[in-house]
């Protein structure tokens, strides 16, 4: 007995489109804020993880690739990756990197540094991305944030994709910083 599909079961299309738009015009990266703000608002206001449970398009994408397309080995994740220490550690690391990105954005915004038209993958590899930049009506800082934010989104998709292949389809959910954070908010509210 399969449950009937709801409108939100198609949000994977949004996630996929988002990733593709980053190759067309980097400014679309700003749309990714939806994936940051919505789960936080839901957890703060409603005290649940409805975002993870129902609306997360990335989770649906991994579930589809690993499940229906059979790309996942469906093995258990190593124990250390499922531990609280790793999950909280990754959350802290992710946040630290996020603030470094905000700082770089500020430097460009304040005119102390030129715009870097690159996407940084896995916080290490700078990939030229000028072909997705067609200028901005606003400050260069707006574009710098887009490059930085897209770097985060693409990096986390790559990490999630690799763990999808190696372990269970939605392995990303175990160490997803947004998931860990909303769970902590729910715990505090309980």
């Amino acid at each position: 007995m399969k449950q009937r599909k709801k409108w939100y079961d198609y949000l994977w299309i949004f996630s996929l489109t988002y990733l593709l738009l980053g190759f067309v015009n980097i400014l679309f990266a700003w749309l990714g804020m939806i994936c940051f703000i919505t789960p936080l608002v839901i957890s703060i206001v409603r005290g649940n993880k409805a975002y993870c449970n129902k609306y997360c398009g990335r989770g649906q994408l991994f579930s589809m690739l690993g499940g229906r397309f059979g790309l996942s080995r469906k093995h258990d994740m190593p124990k250390w990756m499922r531990s609280k220490a790793f999950r909280y550690g990754f959350l802290i690391f992710f946040f630290a990197m996020f603030f470094v990105m905000l700082w770089n954005t500020y430097l460009v915004f304040a005119g102390g540094r030129p715009l870097s038209q690159t996407v940084k993958l896995v916080w290490t590899f700078k990939v030229p991305w000028h072909w997705a930049y067609h200028g901005t009506l606003f400050s260069d800082g707006v574009a710098q944030f887009a490059f930085g934010f897209y770097s985060i989104m693409l990096t986390s998709t790559i990490l999630g994709f690799v763990t999808m292949l190696l372990f269970k389809p939605r392995s990303w959910c175990v160490y997803c910083p947004m998931g860990t954070m909303t769970q902590l908010i729910c715990k505090a509210k309980k």
Binding site: S63, K168, R170, T182, Q183, K187
Partner: protein, 64 residues
């Protein structure tokens, strides 16, 4: 004798993957902290345990 899903609530990440696959709607994540099994509805099919990315669900029980 009834086997059913048992969640390790301490390590559950509350992602809700189990909720999606449960054919009996017997599992939910009510407060966003961990999954809860309605033992009256659970038939112990094990779909949730197989899906769980954190591998925190076991099918157990038996003697009642």
């Amino acid at each position: 004798m009834k086997r059913k899903a048992i969640v390790n609530t301490d390590l559950c990440v509350a992602c809700g993957c189990c909720v999606r696959v449960c054919p009996k709607s017997a599992i939910s994540v009510p407060d966003g902290v961990f999954a809860v099994v309605d033992s009256a509805l659970c038939v112990g099919c094990g779909k949730c345990a197989k899906e769980c990315p954190a591998s925190v669900i076991e099918i157990g029980g038996g003697a009642e």
